[in-house]
Subunit: 384 residues, 4 copies
């Protein structure tokens, strides 16, 4: 029998947004789900128009997500949405997630999970209590070669990990530095909306998550310098961090929005006693293993020599590039496994997608960075 | 108003096939279409099972495509499929395309278009007469940076084109060369199914199409050597071609299935009097312009400095890699534009997807290669 | 008239050493100099044997550099060496340089210049007083494309520099981490010989020098964590540094000897308000400019579009790779310009090679790193 | 005992020439030789001036190479040159080589060896009879990683070779195509001086030599199209060749001087039944092995895991790039081994440098290309 399509709703992500369409393409790529409901904008008219353009039944397009949660929860089980994708700015993540989880609806949520550590702790508890799936879209862990990297670390190919360098430079704000009149006025720079961090919340948390996903290393202490280069920026647009991982590994982690000419250049290098690894998001279908004898081995997506997770995560065979959407879709695919289990009356199983636990670590990471930065880069212990 | 989803059918591409899921993901990526019918296999039971797994209404899953064409044509307009995707081996392309076109149904078809030049000419006429859309999935032309390359040539950035080097090596058959017992027995090597060519029909036609798409150059004469290295191969698994383009440009075109260790390494280099260009399918989001002053300019997908076609073809902004599926989806998106026009009673407009005219050139190209090869690599004029 | 060949002597660098032959090849590459004297080892017999293998007149092969300085100084001007290359371990740099300078002989010396800041200050004064040339072999600044990078910064192409990331990972010690019995016993790890730092003295100073050469930025404060991963290592084999440059730029600088599988991967990325730049020592003939519009421009060695310094520093035209020796030879070539001027009775002119001033900064940099590290990574002001 | 420095003479290569300084740097890089004599130009005054700038004894600077050969031959053995480097345009190679060999002087000569096949055959015989060393500077075979490639083929790592793609595009003439007034008037385009071929003599012979050096494959037949794109060019500036090697391998070989934006992009890909290999001259310190399982292994210069020849050919360890000069110097180093043996009264040993036998093959290759091209690309057997 065919699996029935899961029904999804969306909060935010109206037409014109960047991340809304990404979620829609990712969630539906495998034909496993369709979006049937949404509250696409705080502006009810805009929301209606977005629903219309997406071909939704107008009765399922809501003026606010609060109304949506209430109404959807009351629908019969065979009509009600199975999950909601929350793609609003940061400060909406917590209340919307809370509401839908408490309404009994599974949640896929953008990162960072919340804007405060207290909220993150609360949400983690709500998720645990809810018996529902909560997936956080640290989408870069969906790439097949990231899974291969994790596999190589966990099976001991690298020996003991001693050093990790993770970088996430973007450059799109660099042109604004010289143009103070060019008030960017984006929500990312508004502490009321973004929380206490811009660059590190947006990019740095992806970097932290990627390190932890691949290596399993947990941060002990951070020493951070956060800088706002763009005049008028109320939050940092660049952050450099020294990291001490539990167990003795040392690391560098940086993220930037003012690195002129960089696009979305997340990369990671992991060095163990036996081998080094390198992966770059902008060339995602390859993983470089650096061998101590001076050779490098390039693994490539879609081959049988990869671990099972990497093979399963590839939508196409060797030489046929998978991209960002396919990786993002892998987060959804794993969440859908969990949702189907929950629908079948089971507890949410452990699936290969970021969870509220990861979300809490991410927010704790931001918190530690902010504390270190405020203390003039004192080493600061990370506390979840 | 939302555009209604177009209804698609599929011939071939049952579960387990490589190209079937690619078509399904590509056709539905933008939420513009859904598959509602299919004849997925010559084996009616397999077809049924595939339909089931895809969640199709069993009444729309047919034992043969002939039945499918007949039954679908009789359905009311608001149920009938808008298009059929034909993804069977080569010898099925012509009869299936003919049947559906004559039944008034738009066709998206895999390449090469037919197995004989006569059939290609016939099909071109049928398409013209039908008033329907016929799109051939030379999918590599769907990549944004290929469109940028075409733009740079057509706007004169390269000056007059003098040389084109296009290569399409794969290596998956290389291990078979030494293992004669390893009879591959694939349809690609069966002249009854594949037509007169294996490697050049499968890969070489993509290369020819890519050159023509980017440069507009038309082949005048070819001088080809086709070789079957794998013991037992009845058709060539490697082909090297010298090309004379109309207007004086010269070229090299080769394709291979025995180039050990290569994956899907289609690449093109175009040299004009003012600039050279290079694009590689395995790193598709970049285009290299080689300037005579010794600099190279790397253009990358998703930026505002690209031509409109390249911008429109990108699903994501800079630094967020688009892959094979997204490029493939661009072929469908253009075909859908045409289909919506036809549905609205118009003549099929000129859209940016390969057509029956391209298909005819591709088959003529194969024909010329075979003739040249048989004559011990005599220069042979290509005739459509 | 042909320029006469300058006569060189060497301290250290006997047969079997790594850096001795590099100096010999670099100094003689252009036919401007020849080595005629040396004290190649602390072991007089080894020194003699090295001199023999190099074809030197035995009367010019000395048992110690002290004897060498004394004897060479007494030779008639038309026989005496014009310069000495000091290629012994770190702790020999200061006394040997002092001795030869005071004997009136120009010095080319390996880095770091001295093992203590006090010595560095003293040597800087000795150099100034001597009227002789003192060149420090921060050889990486000899690469043509490094000169092009400097030119692009100094002519404002990048706008204001905001961020610099410089990395220098090597991996040759990584295999030793797990093998404590494998006591490496190298001089680099002996504080008596190497000074207070291993990795940062050996590699980190190159990184610091490269940043300063290209950008002109001066370090204000550093925040460093230095780690000895290899059991038994008395000095650090890995160092991560946050940097505050005067004027507001921020940076990351790291060096490592335990980054498994890395060879000699010095690289630098400089980000200004208008452009980013990237250069990698392992691919030295190219410089990447990252433009805010999403294009990257690759400049390559040996082309007319480069600045004069970059053109002059290239020994071969485009497409003919210059390597490490050629870059090293550029340091010598500039030193030779100075030596010829001094020989002609002039004051040492400003030539394009690292000087005692650079050497002092390098030692001050190490000093600041050690101080910061000892204080648990407190921000520490760098003082020359 | 130190080896005495070999004494060299040079024919051609006066100051301002490109290749003269390359030979001088390459020959003297290891301190094994020095140039003491020369006939640097057909213009005696220019020759004198070049000798002066090089610091040569005026009595050893000759107005013509004929005078040079005569005079040098009469010098006492301990003054006479040990070898002559012939770096004049093509038509000078034969008479000068002949003259010096017959005067008992070893010869290092630029390629192509002669301008006619008859001369090549004659010179091969003269060399054999002379008992002297004759080395042809197909310098690209001097790169360490080319030697590693040869080793991997010869030890069976690739299995049976089936396909070879070798490319040598340059672009420096591309700008001339549109400027007919821009008469280039270079000797390379003058059949009286260059012989029957420009591009293939200059670049194509390197490509042929590289294939043979790495694979040992010998050409059976060629099918060539040679084109002069630049208006006024009397010889071809672009050539595309299909190749049949003895034993069944097939190949593509092309060279070009009109490939806009290419610098000196010699590259080779070799495909066997078990593995593929790729090497690029512009990135010469790496060799890529393409494995059938979808991994690629990058070997890099200066590591212990390479074959002995590759290790010996590296002047510097891993991560310290060797360049064009170092590779060129390896040709000289091997020739010097032979010359020292000859000086010691032995027969010229088999050393790892191209010989007159290679030179003859190169000229025969050009001859076959010209014959094939004239016959409208008929397959033409290559005859030495």
């Amino acid at each position: 029998m065919a699996k029935r399509k899961l029904r999804g709703g969306m909060v935010g992500g109206g037409v014109g947004a960047f991340i809304g369409p990404v979620h829609r393409m990712a969630a539906t790529l495998d034909g496993e789900a369709e979006f049937v409901a949404g509250a696409f904008s705080r502006d009810a008219a805009k929301s209606r128009k977005s629903g219309e353009e997406l071909g939704l039944d107008p009765s399922r397009v809501y003026p606010t997500y609060q109304v949506m949660a209430e109404k959807e929860a009351k629908l019969p089980a065979d009509q009600r949405i199975d999950f909601v994708s929350i793609v609003v700015p940061n400060n909406g993540h917590f209340p919307a997630s809370k509401l839908f989880l408490e309404a009994g609806i599974n949640v896929i949520c953008d990162k960072p999970m919340t804007t405060t550590l207290a909220d993150a702790r609360t949400l983690q508890k709500i998720v645990r209590k809810s018996g529902k799936v909560f997936a956080l879209t640290h989408n870069y862990t969906g790439y097949p070669m990231v899974k291969q990297a994790r596999h190589m670390v966990s099976t001991g190919k690298l020996g003991k990990i001693n050093k990790v360098v993770v970088e996430y430079p973007q450059g799109w704000m660099s042109g604004m530095i010289d143009n103070p009149g060019n008030s960017i006025g984006m929500w990312r720079m508004d502490p009321e909306i973004a929380g206490g961090s811009c660059c590190m919340g947006d990019l740095g948390t992806h970097a932290e998550n990627l390190v932890r996903y691949i290596t399993g290393l947990e941060i002990d202490e951070v020493c951070a310098e956060l800088t706002a280069f763009v005049k008028g920026n109320r939050l940092e647009d660049d952050g450099n961090v020294l990291v001490r991982y539990k167990g003795g590994a040392r690391g560098i982690l940086y993220a930037s929005q003012i690195s002129a000419g960089e696009e979305n250049c997340l990369s990671i290098r992991v060095y163990g006693t036996k081998m080094g690894l390198e992966w770059r998001q902008e060339d995602p279908n390859y993983l470089i293993a650096k061998n101590p004898d001076g050779t490098q081995t390039r693994f490539s997506k879609g081959n049988n020599n990869l671990c099972k997770d990497a093979q399963d995560a590839a939508r196409l065979i060797w030489g046929h590039p998978d991209g960002y959407i396919e990786a993002f879709a892998n987060i959804y695919r794993e969440a859908f496994k969990g949702i189907r289990a929950v629908n079948a009356g089971k507890k949410p199983p452990a699936c290969d997608h970021p969870t509220a636990d990861d979300g809490l670590v991410g927010v704790a990471f931001i918190d530690a960075l902010l504390a270190s930065s405020k203390s003039k880069s004192k080493w600061t212990r990370m506390k979840t």
